[in-house]
Amino acid sequence: MIRVTAMTHRFVGGRAALDGVSFTVAAGESVAVVGPNGAGKTTLFLRLCGVLPGVRGEATVANLDPADREHRRKLAATVGVVFQNPDDQLFSPTVLDDVAFGPLNLGLSDIEARDRATEALNAVGLPDHAARVPHQLSGGEKRRAAIATILSMRPGVLLLDEPSMFLDPRGRRELIYLVRDLPGTKLIATHDLGLVLETCPRVLLLDGGKLVADGPTEQVLGNEMLMETHGLEVPYRLRNG
């Protein structure tokens, strides 16, 4: 489903945000991307969804190359990205407008877009929030609405960037249940290792733009030396058996 081959990305000034990263993710798999700040997690996501330009052949998502202009047009229907800050994602006057934005851009009719938006809002537990103004939602509601904006497009691949950021414990717990139930292939970039343990059986560990570990979640996150070397901590649950 996702194939990344020696992906490299340099920012202006020459700093490498990604340096020869390679991995594959099978259809339906849930994979976490962890690493310290500046590891390249968000850059990887922006490359996979085609927002950042790249070199052809370094990545394919559902057989589409994000670096290819023609493929990029079709990518929106295949890859859904939930950004770090939901305020960046919820830009329409009402929640319904926001959730219907994607389907309308895919060429769906008004009625179809409205149906999909309603279905997506139901799926994230916000059936009564269609007419609400996004900036008046709570942090947890914003996050759910942001996920609904993607679900309404029915993408095969979901990229979730720091989904539990800004959430209180209850909002985080609800998000974990929601993420577990989301359909499709999921790639989740996060510092929240508790969320990783509950939602992803596999982990990619990035540091300094390089992929330093790729394996089963408990094995990678439970490796104290590996975690500490790369600025992370073994989650409490794994430390105590």
Partner: protein, 237 residues
């Protein structure tokens, strides 16, 4: 936060139920008609009509008076100077003040009986360029986010005992804060643009169509346009 346009819902009233497209068109025609009136009597009549509309719109008397007060302050220089400037100065001052208050109240009716996004959607369906509408919608959406950021920065300044004085240090600090807000706004704009592109946005704004006109909407439009034509005709007699 107390921006008038922040309200997501408006109180139910006949004017709130009026289709936003017909209301926008009708009130625009009425405002234009008031702007071309040349006699205080007809302007007074228009003001009375608009006051009836504010009553029908269920706008509180306090809000109407506050708006009228603001408008009168705005035209105060003309009202004070014109009576001494010519023989018909008093009449002219009354005319200007009357037109200003009437058109201002029409704006109040528009703002108080539909949310801004709905009015913008109506403007778009009436042919206002969709890019302008999109920019206005985004500005409306993010002004609150920017205000919240500005408040956080102000608290950060207060937390470090920043003294507001009329000196170079204060101006420099306020300049830095304004700069930080602009930079953050610019970065946010990039992120919003990325989020829009990721959801298939290709530069053509598309939105749900929230309108469905009824006979009442058409009748109300005809009534307002007819009333405006009658007023202008009476004014010209």
């Amino acid at each position: 936060m107390s921006l008038a346009c922040q309200n997501a819902t408006v109180p139910d009233s006949p004017l709130a139920r009026w289709d936003a497209r017909y209301k926008l068109a009708g009130l625009f025609v009425l405002a234009f008609g008031v702007a071309v009136l040349q006699r205080p009597q007809t302007v007074g009549c228009a003001l009375a009509l608009v006051l009836v509309l504010t009553f029908l719109a269920k706008i509180s008397a306090r809000r109407v008076l506050a708006r009228v007060g603001l408008l009168l302050v705005a035209v105060l220089p003309f009202v004070v100077v014109l009576p001494f400037a010519s023989d018909h100065g008093l009449e002219l001052a009354a005319l200007i003040a009357g037109r200003c208050v009437t058109i201002g109240l029409i704006g109040l009716i528009l703002a108080a009986t539909a949310t801004l996004p709905r009015t913008l959607a109506a403007a778009q369906s009436l042919g206002v360029p969709s890019v302008l509408v999109l920019v206005a919608q985004l500005a409306w959406r993010y002004v609150f986010v920017l205000l919240a950021e500005a408040r956080r920065l102000r608290v950060a300044l207060q937390a470090r005992a920043f003294p507001v004085r009329t000196n170079a240090h204060t101006y420099r600090t306020i300049g830095h804060v304004t700069g930080a807000l602009l930079v953050r706004g610019g970065e946010r704009a990039d992120r919003v643009a990325a989020a829009m592109r990721c959801r298939g946005f290709d530069g053509t704004p598309r939105g749900l169509t929230p309108f469905r006109a009824t006979a009442f909407d058409v009748f109300a439009l005809l009534l307002v346009v007819g009333g405006t034509i009658a007023l202008v005709a009476w004014d010209r007699l």
